[in-house]
Amino acid sequence: MTPAAGSVGIVHPQRASFAEALPLSSGAALPGFELVYETYGTLDAARSNAILVCHALNASHHVAGSYADQVDSEGWWDNMVGPGKPVDTNRFFVVGVNNIGSCFGSTGPASINPATGKPWGSDFPIVTVEDWVDAQARLADRLGIARFAAVMGGSLGGMQAVSWAIRYPERIASALVIAAAPNLSAQNIAFNEVARAAIMTDPEFHDGHYYAHGVKPVRGLRVARMIGHITYISDEQMGEKFGRALREGLNYSFAPEFEIESYLRYQGEKFSEYFDANTYLRITKALDYFDPAAATGGDLARALAPATCRFLVVSFTTDWRFAPARSREIVKALVDNRRDVSYAEIAAPHGHDAFLLDTPQYHAIVRTYLERLAG
């Protein structure tokens, strides 16, 4: 019997400052940084029940619960994390952390560059998945977590879980890699490049120093989000949801006439109000660069050889952005290393976005896997 699942309730973001510079993949270093994070549940006496949740492109440390002073402020994975939920906060101490380069509180392009006293803007270094993981490890040190029971994430978050397993094998008991890929395909990179081009050709981009001009390249950001959004949904789902439905009728004009047009415009509009263009550029770069097998001549099995933790890999049948075949590459590399790995391919119509939804089989798999983990 599944107990009635609840919310973690009102939550409060916390902030951790790190004075020591963070060496980055690019060779540059971030001279000290801050991470914003949230925690849910209680760290046990042995400090062995911590789960790190890594976020994807547009999300943050705010994984579950709500803010007292904000309506509709539910965390992005509230259906997954909470008391009695698949990631059960009655049992686990869950940490959500905002990555560096983001625009939700951790040090990023809109933060003040200590060298100039002005916002970093385009001077903020390009950061990678590995850099994020290294920064997260510093937070784990701060929280007194020597070893996570699990590191988990969907999409780009799943890539961080893979990176954790490779970089810090002794600090992670299991990795839950959901709707991820071992690297981006050329098509994926192409979509990202179109998104970046939309932002960087916006007249209000000002080479990334738009903060100083008091403007934001919102038009570029809108288009970037519209493109992204198309790739997160399956053709099937989009057809079912919108089809060729019209808002009123054909007006023989360029105003949005099809429902899908106004939906995409709405999504772009909403996104451009809360997201930062410099962050979008950097996160898409981090996606493009992620390729652990690049260090081993393209041999993913060899790249994953240091990863000794247990793995759960999950994909969704209609996800064409990070298709099941890409998850199976990860599974094969782990099998080649004889690692403990289970793989579930969830039948879901929603495309890539399915990892954020609560398809019963998906949630049951995550719940059961974590229950076994807790013993």
Binding site: L312, R328, V331, K332, V335, D336, R338, D340, V341, S342, Y343, A344, E345, A347, Q361, A364, I365, T368, Y369, E371, R372
Partner: protein, 196 residues
């Protein structure tokens, strides 16, 4: 903890080297693999296509990979496992010959179990003009998943035709070994074989 074990489990366990690397194709809820893990300390993976089976296997704490056996074992390298098991699944597969060849590509040995269509009760029902229904074939003709049923004699011929070296053959009925006229009195056949 008591666990339901099918009669073929202990025979299979007896043929598996302690600590062997095993693939269990069509692992269902993972109970055979869990049995082999507990009894013989094996490691490896179960393969299952059914959602409920995958979930139950994870609940049983085994490594399970959701995959369709009909499309082969592409995720596994040649000769990379000690034993590849196909327990009570052969008769329900479309690509019967292909999966057996795949088993011997990936594994050094194959273990196959199947219900014996040659059991006298099945023969009697066919003689009386009906499709057989029995404890080992518990389905009606219209709802059976079994599409490639065979007899012990058929499988012997199959192995001979493919030049497989049959290392062991055990035929059971009511969990007891049948040595006299096994194709007539046995309801469950268990083979261990490899390439010659």
């Amino acid at each position: 903890m008591t666990r339901f074990t099918r009669p073929d489990f202990s025979t299979i366990a007896g043929w598996i080297t302690r600590g062997a690397q095993v693939l269990d194709l069509g692992c269902g809820d993972g109970s055979l693999f869990a049995y082999l893990r507990d009894e013989r300390g094996v490691s490896g993976y179960g393969i299952e296509i059914d959602d409920a089976g995958v979930l139950a296997s994870i609940g049983n704490g085994i490594n399970v990979i959701q995959s369709d056996l009909e499309s082969g074992l592409a995720g596994f390298d040649d000769q990379s496992f000690d034993s590849v098991i196909l327990s009570q699944t052969l008769q329900a597969m479309r690509h019967t010959e292909e999966i057996v060849l795949e088993m011997l590509r990936v594994g050094r040995e194959a273990i196959v179990t199947f219900p014996n269509f040659g059991h006298w009760s099945h023969r009697a029902q066919v003689l009386l003009g009906r499709m057989p229904v029995s404890p080992s074939l518990p389905y009606q003709w219209f709802d059976t998943p079994n599409i490639h049923l065979c007899t012990v004699a058929d499988f012997d011929a199959f192995c001979a035709a493919h030049a497989f070296d049959v290392l062991e053959r055990v035929v059971l009925h009511d969990a007891r070994r049948v040595t006299v006229l096994p194709n007539l009195f046995g309801s469950l056949a268990i083979y261990r074989f490899r390439r010659r």
